[in-house]
């Protein structure tokens, strides 16, 4: 009871801070300096129709590299934790795990849907510079396909080696592209190592589609690896 009261008291205090933040909030009427720069220059300089993507991949590319790394870290640690467990807890002599069948509908649906999902994922990250969406969204979609596979066959084993190879290669190329930017263009992760092309075209916006594709692959691989690792904990 005391705990709840204290929690409420503290959150009331925090709420007070939030309330004054809210009270002091006045929506901008005009774009501020930074946003205005993006609005004016993103298309011209980088050739990206989707300004958000331009920001994510180029202007704040370092953040995005960090994000990718966050996922990489999370996947690594989850993998670390779980392989660590398996080494310590091999449970020898346990009979092969069996499960009740998951049902016709799910199995068939999976078989039907997964290619489509994967395709959609690729579409989303390939078109990240033109339309809403991008590497993360695409990667997540791809991972959802994997999830579907796992749901359909919980005992399915994914090749960790393949996943991590995709993940690593995508990451390495990502860094490499960034460094190429440093050498050939204005700076690390500058997308203007390739021609900007025509605004709105698929092959345009310099290296953005390439980078976003790599991100998409990497994110997809990382999510998949996390899902796979987590699914292996099921016997508990």
């Amino acid at each position: 009871m005391v705990k709840r009261f204290l929690a409420l008291l503290l959150l009331a205090g925090l709420g007070g801070i939030f309330a004054s933040l809210l009270a002091g909030y006045i929506p901008d009427a005009e774009l501020n300096l930074t946003a205005r720069y993006y609005a004016d220059h993103a298309a011209g300089d980088l050739g990206a129709a989707n300004i958000v993507t331009a920001i994510i991949v180029t202007y704040r590319g370092l953040d995005t590299l960090g994000e990718v790394t966050v996922l990489f870290l999370a996947a690594s640690i989850v993998g670390l934790v779980l392989t660590h467990r398996q080494k310590h807890d091999p449970r020898p002599g346990q009979p092969a795990r069996t499960r009740a069948p998951v049902g016709e509908l799910l199995t068939t649906g999976t078989r039907f849907l997964v290619p489509l999902i994967l395709l959609l994922g690729v579409y989303v990250f390939m078109n990240g510079h033109l339309t809403p969406g991008g590497g993360f969204q695409g990667g997540a979609i791809i991972a959802s396909g994997i999830l579907l596979l796992l749901l359909a066959d919980p005992l399915k084993h994914f090749s960790h080696g393949l996943i991590s190879a995709v993940e690593s290669l995508a990451g390495l190329f990502y860094i490499l592209l960034g460094l190429v930017g440093l050498v050939l263009a204005g700076g690390f992760l500058d997308n203007r190592i390739l021609p900007a092309g025509e605004l709105g075209a698929l092959i345009s916006a310099g290296a953005i589609p390439l980078i976003y594709s790599l991100i998409g692959l990497k994110v997809g691989a990382e999510f998949s690896s996390m899902l796979a690792s987590l699914s292996e904990t099921e016997e508990l």
Binding site: G13, F18, G24, D45, R60, T69, F72, L73, S164
Partner: protein, 1054 residues
């Protein structure tokens, strides 16, 4: 120059590359990791070199080919270079250290480590607030992973608690960032800082302040401020020590720099909050560390405290100005290197209790490493923390921020307390069973190397900071001081046999005196002779020790180095540095005694406490100047002068063991080794007197609230003399008796100084010389006896006169001299004393001193009687005379005493003349053998001759009439019609002055001891109460954090 971006790029590339290597190829993955970290370190180092040498200028690195604030930019300037180098090196050596753990966990662990180091460097480099957030989250997640490298049973729960609170922190940080962006229209740190003053109206500025508060508090929380730090402490305790090293040295550093960047945005308005949070954390962290018994948890609290102190320093940048980075950097680097080193060291030991560190005992290298780290943390010279603390204190005092100053010093004292207590455990506790330390060194060189690197880095930093201090601030680089170098060179020579080192030491002391003796005026000359030649003389006794005597000479020579630097110091800084050096040296020396652990601890604590008061006094006197010539103490402005006087006087009086501050002395002097006691008693105590002389010469009489401070000193001195003597009477332990007697004697000397007249000073100097000679001699004699008999309890001895005649002679001459009975030199002191007080205005304190005088006879008689006279014990019948090398100096002292008794003018005439410039009136006139004052006269030669002639005549007469006296056996006495046969029951020695105790024993109630025990108990209790906050529940820690936020919010009063 290679772009600093490669630090990030290479780390990430290597981390991703590891994913390509199959789990089976771990032995390949590990070198890749090390290579990447080595490259990153090299890159930082090359930038540091280029920037420091001026061959490169600071650069801003734009990403995405776009200028900030539209894209993220990084910066590489000197601070960044230093900090990234620190982080990367910590990472590199921790990776080395983690070899087995990393190889066991595989490539993922290595990748996580790489990313963690990269992210820490990123925090330092980035100039974008949101980018900083991303790096911060990377650190958090990586921490969550690296904690699991540990085998500790509770690493898992520790990591989870950490994640829980980190989540809350990141929520606040994000909210803060987005609103700050909204208010300023930029995410660039420098851009925000520029935008803030331009905010149009009060509303916008208010909104920004709120947003800034959230960002700031979130980043401050990353520094683990008290009390919102329970979540981090468990990490320190549970994680692998190598990771704790990163966590303490790397993460702490990065977070501090992040806060520093934020302060740039917030501006001066937020400095107070930083200071407040910092100093509270510093004090509380140290208090909480005090009751800890787990080594890593203690280090955790200590890390928290250190970082708190640096935060407080950052918060003081309004007065520190350009020195901020010198101070904060000194503290930070000291902290980081020492903490990393200590965490690495802790991994070499099996036990987790502090006392388990006794494993290190007898192993010079790790002990030296520990000493280096502890000294760095406590800010002792010559390490950077020392320079930093000096500057900090001076700035604080110059701006009148005295409360903060007091808190800083208080916290630092507690910190020194637990560090030195720990050191005492290492040297003095029994190792916990089988010490597997040796095996570790040979089996795991990769774990020893980082520790050694940290030690080397510590000394390198000491040199660098000394250079910086001398080039930027005009302080002297202590590591270039010849005496100190001489002392330190004994560290390298420690493999030599003791007698070689002893000869070197003696030669060094004598040569130093020979080279410099022309530099001293009469007053300093006396001290110089005692410190160098006197030291050499006591060192003669050290020849009796065989073997290598590891650690003795560095410590002893450090003490002597400090002392000669003390008398040669002209500026307050040099003086204080020398003071600290001699304190530290003597501490190590005292700690060598078999049972001296608690006493050495109380010695160093009182001494450091005193030293801090001295530093505060100097700082207040300086009034903003970084240092000043000692002589200009005389020109301290009026409102400060009495306070300066008070602080300095109390500081010096801790060394002379004035009453109330004396409780360290008896144990320290009594438990020290045979040849150490004369050094610390006969020589070291004089350093305090020297300080007081310097002080009194410069400042003279000061009044505080109408009370004359020298008058107060008189009372303190008189009480010291009385109670010191009285307590000496009731000691059973011979060396304790002598130690208490020193307290009393120092009381006399202090009294003479406080009289502030010509003869008073002369008397003090007579006491200085006399006390050196006879106390060194008595300690040696008693030490020799204790060595032979195996006890220091006087009632266990008795009748040793026939077995140890030379020691007896020394003690006999000694006690005649101490008691002031003519014709020996002690009388000269008394005579000058009476003449001095006749000229003084104060009469009441003298009464107390009169009472003290005769009491000396009691303990002196007891000393000689119970040891040498009376009944010889059966078990001591085969005792031999003390070793030659212990007796030899005693005989030299006997000769000196007699010489000084006959011709005191040799030493005193010059001093008398010298004193004329300060106290023109009341000097002595020296005509032939006669010494005349305004009141009386005295002819030492005549006295010696007359007494000698009478004595010899009577003696001859007795010889003539009683030439056939027969020596009889021991029990041939008339004893109540019985024949006693047991020496134990016949030797009246225990509780010798029982009636006296009945009459006056109430005066020796250990009130002072009770007082100080209560103080330390209170501190411990406070620490224990604080510990209850940390109930181990992650949710509670989240509560703490939110409460911290809300409370600070209301305190800031936005």
């Amino acid at each position: 120059m290679t772009s600093p971006l490669y630090i990030i790029a290479v780390a990430l590339a290597a981390a991703f590359l590891l994913g390509l290597l199959r789990e089976q190829w771990r032995s390949l993955a590990y070198p890749v990791t090390l290579a990447a970290l080595a490259f990153m370190s090299w890159l930082s180092a090359s930038w540091l070199w280029a920037l420091a040498s001026g061959s490169a200028s600071p650069v801003d690195i734009y990403t995405a080919g776009t200028a900030p604030p539209f894209a993220i930019n990084l910066r590489m300037a000197l601070p960044e270079a230093v900090l990234t180098l620190l982080i990367n090196l910590t990472g590199l050596f921790s990776a080395l250290y983690l070899k087995s753990a990393l190889l066991a966990r595989g490539r993922r662990g290595m990748a996580v480590l790489l990313v963690a180091i990269m992210a820490l460097s990123g925090i330092v480099l980035t100039r974008d607030i949101f980018n900083l957030f991303v790096f911060l989250e990377l650190v958090v997640i990586a921490t969550g992973g690296l904690v699991l490298l540990s085998d500790h049973a509770h690493a898992l729960s520790a990591g989870f608690k950490y994640l829980v609170v980190s989540q809350v922190i990141s929520i606040l940080l994000l909210i803060g960032i987005i609103f700050a962006y909204h208010a300023t229209g930029t995410l660039n740190i420098d851009g925000m800082a520029e935008a803030v003053p331009g905010l149009q109206n009060a509303g916008a500025s208010q909104a920004f302040e709120l947003a800034f508060f959230l960002m700031f508090i979130a980043l401050v929380a990353e520094l683990k401020p008290f009390p919102a730090n329970g979540w981090a402490l468990d990490i320190y305790e549970a994680a692998h020590p190598a990771f704790s090293a990163i966590f303490s040295a790397g993460a702490g550093t990065a977070a501090l720099y992040a806060v520093d960047k934020l302060l740039l945005i917030g501006g001066p308005a937020w400095l107070d909050m930083a200071t407040g949070v910092g100093i509270v954390t510093f004090v509380a962290g140290n208090l909480l560390a005090l009751p800890q018994s787990n080594d890593r948890r203690l280090l955790g609290y200590s890390s928290v405290a250190q970082i708190g102190l640096i935060l407080a320093v950052l918060g003081q940048r309004d007065i520190l100005g350009e020195d901020t980075y010198f101070i904060a950097g000194g503290l930070l680097l000291s902290h980081a290197v020492a903490k990393a080193g200590l965490f690495w060291l802790s991994g070499l030991l099996a036990g987790r209790q502090l006392v388990d560190w006794a494993d290190l005992r007898e192993r010079p290298m790790p002990v030296f490493a520990f000493v280096t780290f502890a000294a760095m943390l406590s800010g002792l010279p010559p390490f950077p923390g020392f320079y930093a603390k000096w500057e900090l204190v001076h700035h604080l005092a110059g701006s009148g921020r005295l409360v903060l100053l007091a808190l800083v010093l208080f916290g630092a004292l507690i910190e020194a307390g637990y560090l030195f207590r720990w050191f005492g455990y290492i040297l003095k506790r029994e190792p916990p069973g089988e010490a597997d330390f040796c095996r570790v060194i040979f089996d795991k060189p990769h774990r020893v190397l980082p520790v050694m690197v940290a030690v080397a880095a510590g000394w390198a930093l000491a040199f660098v900071w000394g250079e910086l201090a001398s080039s930027l601030l005009g302080r002297s680089n202590l590591l270039l001081a010849l005496p100190l170098l001489f002392a330190l060179s004994f560290l390298l020579l420690d493999w030599l046999p003791a007698w070689v080192k002893n000869s070197l030491a003696i030669a060094g002391l004598v040569a130093f005196f020979a080279a410099t003796w022309t530099d001293y005026d009469a007053l300093r000359m006396i001290f110089a002779i005692i410190f160098t030649l006197g030291g050499a003389l006591t060192l003669l006794a050290s020849y009796h020790v065989h073997g290598r005597r590891v650690g003795f000479y560095p410590a002893a020579m450090l003490m002597f180095a400090g002392m000669v630097m003390l008398i040669r110091a002209d500026t307050s800084f040099d003086f204080f540095a020398a003071w600290e050096l001699l304190t530290v040296g003597s501490y190590f020396l005292i700690l060598r005694g078999k049972h001296s652990e608690p006493h050495a601890l109380s010695y160093i604590l009182f001494s450091l406490g005193g030293a801090f008061l001295i530093m505060a006094g100097f700082a207040i006197a300086a009034q903003g100047a970084p240092q000043f010539a000692l002589a200009s103490l005389a020109h301290v402005a009026a409102p400060f002068a009495p306070w300066v006087f008070l602080l300095l006087a109390i500081g010096f009086m801790t060394k002379t063991a004035a009453i109330g501050l004396h409780i360290w002395l008896p144990g320290a002097h009594a438990e020290a080794e045979t040849d150490v006691s004369p050094m610390v008693s006969g020589i070291l105590l004089k350093a305090g007197l020297y300080g007081l002389m310097v002080l009194l010469l410069a400042m003279g009489k000061q009044q505080l609230y109408g009370i004359e401070l020298t008058h107060v000193l008189l009372w303190v001195a008189a009480l010291t003399a009385l109670l010191g003597n009285l307590m000496a009477v009731f000691q059973e332990d011979a060396k304790r008796l002598l130690a208490y007697s020193s307290i009393g004697q120092m009381g006399y000397a202090l009294f003479g100084l406080a009289l502030m007249n010509h003869l008073g000073w002369l008397m003090a100097l007579v006491f200085v010389i006399n006390h050196y000679i006879y106390k060194a001699m008595l300690f040696l004699a008693v030490g020799g006896v204790a060595k032979r008999t195996g006890t220091r309890e006087m009632y266990r001895m008795g009748g040793l006169i026939r077995l140890m005649p030379l020691s007896f002679i020394a003690v006999l001459v000694g006690i005649i001299a101490v008691s002031g009975v003519p014709p020996l030199s002690g009388f000269g002191g008394r005579w000058v004393f009476y003449n001095a007080i006749l000229a003084s205005d104060y009469r009441l304190p003298m009464v107390v001193l009169f009472l003290a005088g005769p009491i000396a006879f009691l303990y002196l008689f007891r000393l000689i009687y119970t040891i040498f006279l009376g009944q010889l014990k059966d078990e001591l019948r085969r005792v031999k005379e003390a070793p030659f090398w212990i007796v030899l100096p005693q005989m030299i002292y006997v000769a000196l005493l007699i010489a000084f008794a006959v011709v005191p003018g040799l030493a005193l005439h010059r001093v008398d003349t010298y004193l004329n410039q300060f106290f023109p009136e009341g000097g002595l006139s020296w005509a032939g053998g006669e010494i005349t004052s305004n009141y009386g006269y005295w002819n030492p030669v005549a006295i010696m001759i007359i007494v000698g002639v009478i004595f010899c005549t009577v003696f001859a007469w007795l010889l003539f009439v009683n030439r056939r006296a027969q020596p009889v056996k021991q029990f041939n006495i008339v004893f109540s019609a019985e024949r006693p046969f047991r020496p134990e029951t016949t030797h009246f020695a225990w509780n010798f002055f029982a009636p006296y105790r009945k009459a006056l024993g109430f005066l020796t109630q250990p009130l002072v001891t009770i007082f100080w025990t209560t103080v330390t108990d209170l501190l411990h209790t406070a620490g224990d109460l604080g510990r209850r906050l940390y109930n181990g529940n992650g949710q509670t820690y989240a509560f703490h954090f939110l409460a911290f936020v809300v409370i600070v919010f209301f305190l800031v009063g936005l």
